[in-house]
Symmetry: C2
Subunit: 426 residues, 2 copies
């Protein structure tokens, strides 16, 4: 079958699934959970084969140990996935929720309701449990999924896909479609009339590659150049806690601090203490070209994402200078100010043009779970459709349902009838 | 100045304007209205020169009369524009509205608030009053605008732009930037890192051209293949009213009916009466290949947008067949069913995958003003970001404002603190 036919079938299946009552999609999620339980050994066998090959690749230095580690499924991990599917089945149906409800004129009503986006192409690396989580979100939101996993997890993904797909009925099996090769992806990225959104979950390089090769909207972020600005009126204890947590809690994360901006008043005081604290925590601190710390190595660029135990420190004159620095060098992801001055906090939150604009909190809170979104689909630094950590709402659009009694526009043009536009709800 | 510099300045201006209080942007709108009033003669002089050239072009058969007619500004039209600017100045500020408000943990709160998209490239044809309306929406929503009007309105647009731009202060003048040539547009369409959204307001050909030449998201619709389905249980009077209004109220509109689907039960009855009524109204009715009306000319395609006093009739067996036809041949714009059967209406509204899904109402209601959205930015048949008629909300995104007291993620990892995720509002 051509990939165009494949995507067309997935769209047809998505239309069927989206039109089902929420209870039907909940029942499918329960069946998917039970199927994972029932095929536990088959799944773990396939995964063991993937892991065995990966360990051989690690031994041959053809794969990193970290990548091989992320491959592993355990019976305990399956239990967690099964529990999360049952949990998702019990959450309220995200579809058909009324967003706006308005009387256009007597007897003529418009309701805007949530609806599935349509067909999503999701590219994920390594972890086979991602397939289960993504498939569950797709079923919950009535979207059709074209799934491409990492080749190192091919056996695990194939079995998981088979098991979940069989459990869908009476929902159409084509709702979950697994594609296998890079060539398939290249071809699917051309189908902007059939695929509504691409979600690359993986390295920056993957996101950048996808963005460069498609006209389909991409939900994701290639960069996470996050800043902490320590204001003149910062509480030193809070500054220490936030700077260290933002950099060292998980240095490889996209929401980790890359650049520390410190108010000039702290040079010779808090600024030096923060450098020392970071160095004590094994962080290699670089300096901006102008920063008065001659002992530090100079940063190669002020727009650098280390993704590691390293960062840049720059000195700024005030909150306006800090914001100008971030607008120039940042990636619009997450930036936080440490300040006790309510005026500075207000200026920061009114004017900083980033997805996540924090006051006195670690940048690491920028995350779907911590934000209270339930599952996280991804973090978007784009401004269209979804911004910041994205939950299941990012997989939805709306439809406008108008119900009348034979109403014509002509009757309004002639003045026979008049629009009322009365808000009913939503 | 390079177009990259131009767009960068517009983005900077937008950041400034978006950070201003709503009252500042309202005041600018009032000043813009007053400036139009104060420069009335200068504006009308420039417009008269454009119209004179256009009339010459019409005489030389180099321009259509319709295009020349759309160019004309009158003192009365200026009055309307002035009134609409004062009106918009009084509407609630769309920025900073709380969408979600949630306690993440005691003392740690997230507010998701509306924010400007950033920089919009708006390409409009002919009507110079569009420049005023678009500029007003941009100021209201804190977005920076790169504006390109039709070359036939160059003098009118230049004066209007000058007048409005001067009235912005203390808002930065670069908020409204006029670009002049097709080459400028071609260059701006490449700047997907600086321009957030393109809105082409004009012909299908313009929309298609823009979509084919940019990676920036495009808000618009190239096709409007709208359907009316007359069900077995249709009320004949409503069917007549809706079919005629949908086709003849404004045949060139994107929300006009292009294909009439009729239930087989009406062949030899209502179907024939509807054909006759359309023909009486000067509509050229084509038949689908299989439709049992041998006297009608055959349609060249079932996915054809006539955009004129013409349409196609096809016979279907039931509501499922009508929906399958629309999913196959439609453009996902607006489709309406005429039925007295609540089951058919429910099936239609649950399962039809179009932006606007109507019951017993003319397709012509798919319009921002009629929908009660205030100003209309455009109609989107895309599914990402905005769908259907789009008002000022389509020019917004959100930002996540988190406020804490020195909170770290580490304290939650260790179990010292727990997320509460309590909804506060929004």
């Amino acid at each position: 079958m051509s990939l165009r036919d494949l995507a067309t079938r997935t769209r047809g299946a998505a239309r069927q699934a989206g039109a089902q009552a929420g209870a039907e999609r909940s029942a499918a999620l329960h069946r998917m959970a039970e199927a994972l339980d029932g095929h536990r050994e088959r799944i773990l066998d396939a995964n063991r084969a993937d892991v065995r090959d990966a360990e051989a690749a690690v031994a041959a230095q053809a794969m990193s140990q970290a990548l091989a580690d992320r491959l592993k499924l355990s019976s305990k991990r399956l239990d967690q996935l099964i529990a999360s599917l049952h949990g998702l089945a019990k959450t309220p149906d995200p579809l058909g929720r009324t967003v706006h409800h308005i009387e256009l004129a007597p007897g003529l009503v418009r309701r805007e309701v949530t609806a599935p986006l349509g067909v999503l192409l999701i590219i994920f690396e390594s972890r086979p449990d991602a397939l289960v989580q993504i498939a569950a979100l797709g079923v919950r939101s009535g979207n059709g999924l074209l799934l491409k996993g990492g080749s190192e997890a091919a056996r695990s993904n194939t079995v998981l896909h088979e098991v979940l797909r069989e459990a869908l009925a009476p929902l159409p099996p084509d709702l979950l479609t697994l594609v296998h090769t890079r060539e398939d992806i290249a071809a699917l990225l051309q189908l902007d009339d059939l695929v509504d959104l691409v979600i690359p979950r993986g390295s920056d390089a993957l996101v950048r590659h996808v963005q460069a090769h498609t006209k389909i909207p991409v939900l994701g972020h290639a960069d996470g150049i996050c800043h902490v600005y320590v204001d003149a009126q910062a509480d030193p204890a809070k500054a220490h806690a936030i700077v260290l947590d933002s950099k060292t809690n998980y240095p490889a994360a996209c929401n980790a601090m890359e650049t520390l901006l410190v108010h000039r008043a702290h040079v010779g005081g808090l600024a030096d203490e923060l450098i020392q604290a970071l160095q004590t925590a094994d962080v290699l601190v670089h300096r901006a070209p102008e920063a008065p710390f001659p002992d530090l190595p100079e940063a190669s660029s002020l727009a650098h994402e280390y993704g590691d135990r390293a960062c840049t420190i720059a000195i700024v004159d005030d909150v306006a200078a800090a914001m100008a620095h971030i607008h120039r060098y940042g990636s619009g992801h997450t930036d936080t100010v440490v300040t006790e001055d309510p005026q500075v906090a207000a200026t920061w939150q009114a004017g900083l043009d980033s997805a996540c604009v924090f006051v006195n909190a670690s940048t690491r809170f920028a995350d779907g779970f911590r934000f209270g979104l339930g599952a996280e689909v991804g973090i978007s630094t784009g401004r269209i459709h979804a911004r910041g950590p994205v939950g299941v709402e990012g997989l939805l659009t709306t439809r406008h349902l108008v119900t009348g009694h034979g109403d014509t526009v002509a009757a309004f043009s002639t003045g026979e009838r008049t629009f009322t536009h009365l808000k009913i709800g939503g």
